[in-house]
């Protein structure tokens, strides 16, 4: 077996190993919807959400009693797009909680339920403003015996997030993950079960 053949085999192995991970890439959403009350409402809303590019049809679950809809998508969905789909079905989108159920996401790896999700423009906030946001979320997280998972650009984490979390709010259990998103947004999730201390995943 010459070097070329060996290199090709290694390449095939690497690519085939990576494919399942790529196939599993999914974005999770929890929608709070006003106005649903019956099976037809659930059917109509599911039908419209299935039409969105990237949404996995079988992942759509409607909770009529709670007024929530959960779904997964292979592509990120903007709130405006979700709002448009919900409106087309005849309902009102009240809130969206997003979870990146990618292998890079701590919440996805641990299987913890996301209680609240907040997306922050990483370039749009100064350090002090980040501090206020994280303080507020951290208070909520500590009160509910929950934890934080933070997904954002690596430089932002080292420069801004980690000092805030470690230096000023030690009570806050947080886990960091580097974002794979093309923009510079920071995703802060309050998850049901807290991770142990501040860690780098």
């Amino acid at each position: 077996m010459n070097r070329f053949t060996t290199a090709v085999l290694v390449l095939v192995f690497v690519v085939s190993s990576a494919l399942p991970a790529l196939a599993q890439r999914a974005f999770g959403y929890e929608l709070k919807v006003k106005g649903m009350m019956c099976a037809f409402c659930a059917y109509s809303l599911s039908k419209h959400l299935k039409a969105a590019d990237g949404v996995t049809p079988e992942s759509i679950e409607v909770d009529l009693a709670g007024g929530t809809v959960t779904l997964r998508s292979e592509k990120p969905l903007e709130r405006a797009r979700l709002s448009e789909l919900v409106r087309a079905a005849g309902f009102q989108l009240e809130a969206v909680a997003q979870t990146v159920e990618d292998s890079s996401t701590p919440a996805a790896r641990s299987g913890r339920r996301v209680l609240m999700s907040l997306t922050v423009d990483g370039r749009g906030l100064a350090e002090g403003e980040f501090d206020s946001v994280l303080q507020a979320v951290g208070v909520l997280a500590s009160q509910r015996s929950a934890g934080l998972t933070v997904v954002g650009p690596a430089d932002l984490e080292m420069r801004t997030l980690r000092p805030i979390l470690m230096g000023r709010t030690p009570a806050m259990d947080a886990a960091f993950s580097e974002s794979t998103r093309p923009d510079n947004t920071v995703l802060i999730n309050v998850v049901a079960a807290p991770p142990q201390g501040v860690s780098r995943r």
């Binding site: 919807v33 099976a39 039908k47 009529l64 087309a88 005849g90 009240e94």
Partner: protein
């Protein structure tokens, strides 16, 4: 009878050729007889097949009706319905069901939900206006109206109501008016309805399970006398109020609903038969 069966067969085959599933029919996914507010979602189709009848002392009327509905946007839809009358009887002029008249007329109705507000999780307040065109079909009514030269008419209505996981309340009123044709004119009909619906706690199941609810429906119809050769014929109009229970069950994109109504107030003309019970069954298929 053989003629009726042959027409039913032709009509069914025509539906099949047009690509329509044969599971359909109904007056939407609300009450059976009364006016309601929901409209189809944007791009949503509904096919309804309804069987309705009126039973009286000596005569009975029965018919089937197919209705196709399309939602242009979430608050605007158009329904077109076709009749097939099995038996006709000279009862008081009536609308029958809100979305599907109990007559041999073709009908197209536009519905515009001009107000919609999700007040909380699982509750909604909304109002819908209806406007429709009625075109006489080839099947003639019974009684004095049989030889009437029938002309097209219009139907307009408005409904408002509240819906939740447990309770529904809708009220509405409509008006039907027919044009005159060489001195002949069918009577105007003022119709109104009030509906209360309830879904008991054990039936508040999550999707996708059968979703059942019960209604108590009150409908009223006040009709004038018909005119023939520019003369009004007394005793051909009347005022009735009917009340009765109905039920609706939805499973995924299929629905079945049905019920009966009995007259609780009746002041009808001497030339009309007395109606004892009114019934309707509808099947719906949403796609």
């Amino acid at each position: 009878m053989k003629d009726t069966l042959r027409r039913l067969l032709v009509w069914t085959l025509a539906g099949g050729l047009a690509g329509f599933p044969h599971t359909a029919l109904a007056s939407g996914h609300g009450p059976v007889f009364g006016l309601t507010t929901p409209t189809n979602g944007a791009g949503g189709w509904a096919l309804d097949l309804g069987f309705m009848g009126r039973a009286g002392d000596d005569d009975n009327g029965a018919m089937s009706r197919a209705m196709l509905t399309y939602g242009f946007i979430e608050d605007l839809q158009l329904s077109v319905s076709l009749p097939l009358v099995f038996a006709s009887a000279p009862f008081s002029p009536a609308r029958g069901t809100a979305m599907m008249p109990g007559t041999g007329d073709f009908e197209a109705i536009g519905a515009w939900r001009f107000h919609r507000q999700g007040t909380a999780v699982g509750t909604r307040v909304e109002s819908t206006a209806y406007g429709g065109l009625i075109v006489p079909g080839p099947q003639k009514p019974a009684g004095m109206a049989r030889d009437l030269r029938r002309a097209p008419g219009f139907y307009t209505a408005v409904a408002t109501g509240f819906a939740s996981r447990s309770h529904y309340v809708w009220v509405g009123a409509g008006y039907t008016r027919f044009a005159e044709r060489t001195g002949d004119q069918r009577p105007d009909i003022l119709s109104y309805s009030a509906v209360w619906g309830y879904r008991p706690a054990p039936l508040r199941k999550e999707y996708p399970h059968w979703d059942w609810r019960w209604f108590v429906e009150m409908t009223g119809e006040k009709a004038g006398n018909l005119r023939r050769a520019d003369l009004e014929h007394g005793g051909t109009g009347g005022h009735q109020i009917l009340l009765g229970p109905t039920a609706l069950g939805i499973y995924k994109n299929y629905a079945i609903e049905g019920g009966v109504q009995f007259p609780v107030y009746r002041d009808v003309g001497a030339n009309l038969r007395r109606e004892r019970v009114r019934y309707a069954v509808n099947f719906s298929y949403f796609f």
